[in-house]
Structures are given as C-alpha cells and as structure tokens.
C-alpha cells in the first residue's frame, strides 16, 4: 500500500521476488479478478519440462474495494503458489513427493535443502 502504485511497481515487485529464486523469465498475463483491476497471472517456465506454469495471481485493488474501507491509497495484492515456486526453483516434477500424505520420506531425507 502506498500513495501511488502502478502496474509497473507490481511487475517490478514480482520480477525481483522471483529473481531471488533464480527465476528470471517471468511473464504477466492480464486476467480477471472481481476485486482487482488490472489483474495479472504470473507465469514461469519449468526448467525440466519447459512448460509455462502459472505461479501466482495479483493485481491492484479496485476502487470499489478500497472506498468502503476509507483507504485513499493504491494497494497491490497477490497470492503466490508455494509448491509451484518450489518446482520452478528446484526442477521438482511431482509435488506429491514434497508435501501431502503421499510424501516420500526418502526424498525429503536426501534432497538438498536450498533455502
């Protein structure tokens, strides 16, 4: 939240965030959310499968959202997928090895901890 935020600030925030994980090919797809406008889905490419994968959703809150709350500022909002980030950052291909009840203990015990 700040006096003035633009879609460029939103894009810059994620470009920097994902760069910290070695993801530098971020793409922004305009999308629709009822509560933000403009809105963007964030995409990155999987290092092993080369698939373009959606890794988050974001936007600037609509004026109709902020006015009832008395917020006279611009507000960026987002929700990012933890497991997809993990897949892009480590090349993991099956997230069920990492979390959930189907997790493979051998994988958890031997996989290098990067972060």
């Amino acid at each position: 939240m700040a006096e003035e935020l633009s879609v460029r600030d939103l894009m810059g925030t994620f470009t920097e965030f994902y760069r910290q994980f070695g993801i530098t090919d971020l793409e922004f797809k305009p999308t629709y959310n009822p509560y933000t406008e403009p809105s963007f889905e964030l995409f990155g490419r999987h290092p092993e499968t080369d698939e373009l994968i959606e890794i988050g959703n974001s936007g600037l809150f609509r004026p109709e959202m902020l006015e009832p709350l008395g917020v006279d500022c611009d507000v960026m909002a987002w929700g990012l997928a933890l497991e997809r980030l993990h897949m892009l950052a480590t090349g993991a291909e099956d997230i069920r090895d990492v979390h959930g009840t189907l997790v493979d203990l051998e994988y958890l015990r031997t996989e290098e901890v990067t972060y």
Partner: protein
C-alpha cells in the same frame, strides 16, 4: 474458467491475417487467453477469463484480434432492422418472468458456424446463464414458426431505443407467446426426440430434459413458448424438434428467458454480435409484457436487442498513474480504438485532461473507469511496460503466530522429528473410521467436521478436525522406507462451533508420531516434556481414555494446567488399519498452549 475449442485456421480466416501458431498464441496470451493444449482434431483449447464473455466464440476472438492488430478500430454496432416479430409475455411462471429475443436473417450455417453457435450457447449458459438458471438461450429456425397476428401495440411505456422507430403494429406483425403450461396437459416432440411427450415426461425421460429438470422442479406451471401452431419451446429445459436449427436454416429466432432482464439482454447482445460477424442481419423483436405479467416489467414494451452504447469518463492522470508511465494523447486514443472503444479527448475548465469513452453493448464487464484503463494496458501491451521496484520503504516482520509456529518446528526438528506439511482437506474415513474414533466421542479429534458442499473428490470432503490422521497416512505410505520414522506437523485444523462468529473454530495444532520397534509411551512423553520445557511451560499427563489409543497407555496433555491434547500408544486396530507392523506412539495438542502464561 471456460475453455473454448477454436479451430486456428478458422480464426485466421475470420481475422483475415496469416499468422503462425506461435505468434497467434503469444498475441492471445497478451490479451489474457491461455493455451491449454490441442484437441484430437487440432483445435486449440483456449481458457478464458469470465469477464470477456464476448470472446467465448471464434467470432468474438477474431474481433478481438482484428482490434489488436489495428485492422478494426473503434466502436462497431451492427445496424438492426425494424421488428416484424413480437414476443407476448403473459401468465409466465413467477420464478422465470423475463424474456428477450432477436431475429437474425440471411445466415449461411456451414458446419463450422453451426458448431461455433452451439458452443457459444453452451459457454454463455455455463457463465452468465449460471447453468441456465439465470438465463437460457433458445435458437429456432424462423421458417418453421407460424406467427400469430400481433395485437396492437401495448399500452405501456415504450423503451424503444433511438435507432429506428418502426415498431410492429397490428395486422403487419407476427407474434409468439412466452407463457406457462401445465406439466401434464401439453404434448410436444422435444429436440433429439422422436415421440410426443408431456413436459413432465420430458424432465423424467428425455436425456437433455433430465439434466435440467431441477430448474423447473419447484414450479407449479412450467415455462412455455407458443406460436400459432402450438408449443415449440420449453425453456430453460429443451426446445421442440419442430423448430430445430440445421445447416439449411437461414433465418433464426433467438429467444432467451431468465430471472434477470439485464442478464438475458446482455447474453442476447453477445449472440447477435457473433451471428452478425457471420453475415447475419439482425432484426429487432418487440417484447410486450402484459399489464399483469409477473416481475417488474408488467405493461412495458421493449425493442431488443438493445445495442445502445454506454459512456465512461477517465482522466489522463489516472491512466498514467495506474500504468506507471507517461502517454501522449494520441497513444491513449489509439489504444482505446484498438480495444474496440472510442474516446473523445476533453480539457476541463481547470485544465484537467480527460476522455469520454464509449463502450459497446457486448461489453458486460465495464463497471468503473478503471476497467477502461485495463483495456488501454492490454492494447498497449502490459509486457511492454518496464517493471520497476516500487519506491516504498517499510519494515517487515513476522506475525507472532508464525514466530511461535517456527520455534515449535525448530524444536521438534531438534528432538529428531521430520517436519511435514499435509493438506487441510481430507475425508471422514481418514479422521474418524480409520482412527477408531466416532465424531460424537468426547475426545481429542472428535467433533462435527466442516463439510465441503460439492466435493471434487471423495478423498477431500471435509476440513480435518485433527492432524494426527495425516501423519499416520504418511507412515502408511512409507512402510518401505527405513525406520525409525519420527514425524511431526504443525498445522491448521477446524471444527464446527456454534459459538464462533463464522460457525467454525480454527486453530493450529501440533501432531507427532514415533514409529520404531520397541517404542513405548515413555518415548513420546519424554519428547513432549522436552518440547514444553523449551517454552517455559509445565506438562502434566493424567491418564485418559481415547479410542485411537490403548487404554492405560494414554494420557491427557495438560500444559500450564489446561487440558489441550492427548499422548499415548496407538491402538492395534489403528495400526492394522494403516498397515503398520510396529508400535507407534503419538501426541497431538493445541499450539496456542505453548504461549505460556500471558
């Protein structure tokens, strides 16, 4: 989100541009449309967002691309001819009072056009139409209809828009009637059927009828549309076979019924634009509500489709501040035109630059000027904007709850546990039956779970009321891995609770299990003791009964005097159920107990 199948060659043909698949997909991505793969016939599967419902057909998509490439500019409103047909509205079921319609003439319905029309209908039903409950479309071969002589124009106010004024008058016009019928006293041959049925039989026995039977189940009398010959449509369930559209149909009657006039009118606009793009000539239809028609339009008369444009005003400053860069006026006007909008620049008395923007009638998504800025951004190309890190400095910090969670996780890892992250959704079976627990028991983990109303999978039907079952599932799925397996999870659980504002109590829990030959109650108790001591709290473990644990080998977890969980040796029935062939001791308690005396 709706996925529409589009033949790329047809799209290229309608767009009038030779463009290879990769560039086409990139341009579509820029517009906000995601490629989801191909069908067996080589059609693109494209995923749409639910705002641009006018793109749900190959015609709409071609229009978007033509604008994007600058080959089409500004507002396009198809011209409409004066109405010949009237839809009389009387004695309709009060649950479904509204109707709209249009006539489209001179179509050449080749198989692709027909497929596209059917797909557009389906996608509009699925989105704006709310599975036909809010709005349902019926398309009929006009030549198969016999209009009754239209009565003289009604007595109500005319809402006829300014484009043309020759409303049908008695003697010249033809009419159909939207009304209601007795479910058992009428008979007709439904679409894709070959015998006469009563409407009730249609809802019971016809393959399409059965699918939409719920929509009319509560109605005393069913919706019906008649022409001079008889019943030809049973909205929103199924059309009659007599007026079925085929490749030889040239003139169509499009009718839509629903629970909201605005919705059916907008759905109609989208269909009219698509048929107009296929060379059809749109002819307005008069909708005449009788004085005692149910709903809020009794006595009124409309000409439809209503292709009036709307206006929005946006300041130049707002465009620049949202998109984060300077634009000259020409670029803004160009971007508006390439979005299918039309802007007029104005300078206010105080010197403020702004634009009065005209919005075409197929746009159902433009609510606020900010939506126009989004269009300008898409036309300019969001990915052509240079990202910049915001010039805002704040000091971040972790939430108290996260700090506690992390401290507990770290301590558990220090005590030799492997940290897990399991799903919050699971099934009744996992948390109760397989744990030897009954939801009505007075025990940790019991209670009324939060149910998912329409679960996607039988494995995920509730939110978990406790976390130990998840940990046991991990043990169950890893019996081929080496032991000891000491597992723990700090996570969320939820249970129905009338005393909460939301009706649901949610809290964080700590669950752990030790699976190892020769392990016993004391091993779990010792680790629990060490954990609790690390948080300067006291632990007591008075004996208790819990159906998941062995009697006499289980205890309550009492932290700082409050009973907050259970610890013990798991019951053999639970172990057998999870294919575990060695003893397991386990515990679970509320995380907030470790906050210490406040």
């Amino acid at each position: 989100m709706p996925v529409v199948e589009v033949d790329p060659d047809e799209l290229r043909e309608l767009t009038g541009r030779r463009i290879d698949d990769d560039d086409l997909l990139e341009d579509l991505f820029g517009l906000g449309i995601e490629y989801e793969g191909e069908t067996d016939d080589g059609e693109f599967k494209l995923e749409f967002e639910p705002d641009r419902l006018d793109w749900l057909s190959v015609e709409g998509l071609a229009r978007a691309l033509q604008y994007h490439y600058g080959e089409a500019r500004g507002i396009h409103v198809p011209s409409t001819n004066d109405p010949e047909w009237t839809i009389e509205v009387q004695d309709t079921p009060p649950e479904r009072p509204y109707v709209t319609g249009a006539v489209v003439r001179g179509l050449d319905l080749d198989p692709e056009t027909l497929d596209s029309l059917i797909q557009l209908q389906e996608k509009l039903h699925a989105t704006m139409g709310r599975s036909r409950s809010k709005g349902a479309i019926g398309v009929h071969d006009l030549t198969m209809l016999k209009g009754a002589p239209a009565p003289a124009a009604g007595t109500g106010d005319s809402d006829t828009p300014g484009r043309g004024d020759g409303t049908a008058r008695g003697g010249r016009g033809k009419s159909v009637t939207y009304t209601s019928m007795d479910p058992d006293d009428e008979r007709f041959v439904p679409l894709e059927g070959n015998e006469e049925m009563s409407p009730r039989e249609v809802t019971e026995r016809h393959h399409i009828g059965g699918e939409y039977a719920d929509l009319v189940a509560e109605m005393e009398r069913y919706p019906a549309i008649y022409d001079d010959i008889g019943l030809f449509s049973f909205p929103p369930v199924v059309n009659g076979r007599r007026t079925a559209v085929s490749e030889s149909s040239r003139d169509l009657l499009v009718e839509m019924t629903g629970t909201d006039q605005w919705t059916v009118d907008r759905m109609l606009n989208i269909v009219c634009y698509a048929l107009s793009a296929r060379g059809g000539r749109v002819e307005r239809v008069t909708v005449q509500y009788t004085d005692d028609a149910p709903g809020e339009h009794a006595g009124r008369r409309f000409d439809r489709p209503d292709l009036e444009t709307k206006g929005k005003r946006i300041t130049h400053d707002r465009i620049e501040s949202v998109l984060g860069r300077e634009f000259d006026r020409e670029t803004v006007l160009d971007c508006l035109e390439r979005s299918g909008l039309e802007g007029t620049h104005e300078t206010g008395e105080d010197g403020t630059d702004s634009y009065e923007v005209e919005i075409p009638p197929y746009r159902v998504d433009v609510l606020h000027p900010i939506d126009v800025v989004d269009d300008i951004g898409r036309a300019y190309g969001f990915n052509d904007l240079q990202p910049r890190y915001p010039d805002v400095s704040t000091v971040g910090g972790r939430h108290e709850r996260s700090r506690l969670e992390d401290a507990v996780r770290e301590t558990l890892v220090g005590l030799g546990f492997e940290d897990l992250l399991n799903f919050y959704m699971t099934s009744q079976q996992e948390v109760f039956e397989r744990m030897n627990l009954d939801p009505t028991d007075d025990a940790v983990g019991a209670g009324r779970p939060v149910r998912i109303k329409e679960p996607f999978s039988a494995e995920y039907t509730i939110l978990r009321p406790w976390a130990l079952p998840s940990v046991l599932q991990v043990l169950e799925n890893n019996t081929h891995r080496s032991y000891p397996q000491h597992l723990a999870e700090v996570g969320l659980v939820a249970v129905c609770d009338e005393s909460e504002n939301t009706g649901v109590a949610e809290y964080r829990t700590v669950a752990g299990a030790l699976a190892e030959p020769g392990v016993s109650y004391e091993d779990a108790r010792a680790r629990l003791q060490a954990l609790v001591r690390a948080f300067d709290s006291t632990l007591e473990t008075p004996p208790t009964d819990h159906p998941s644990f062995i009697d006499g080998r289980s205890a309550s977890v009492v932290i700082d005097g409050a009973s907050v969980g259970v610890v013990g040796e798991l019951h053999p029935a639970v172990l057998v159920e999870h294919d575990l062939e060695l003893p397991v001791v386990a515990f679970e308690f509320r995380l907030d107990a470790l906050r210490g005396p406040q």
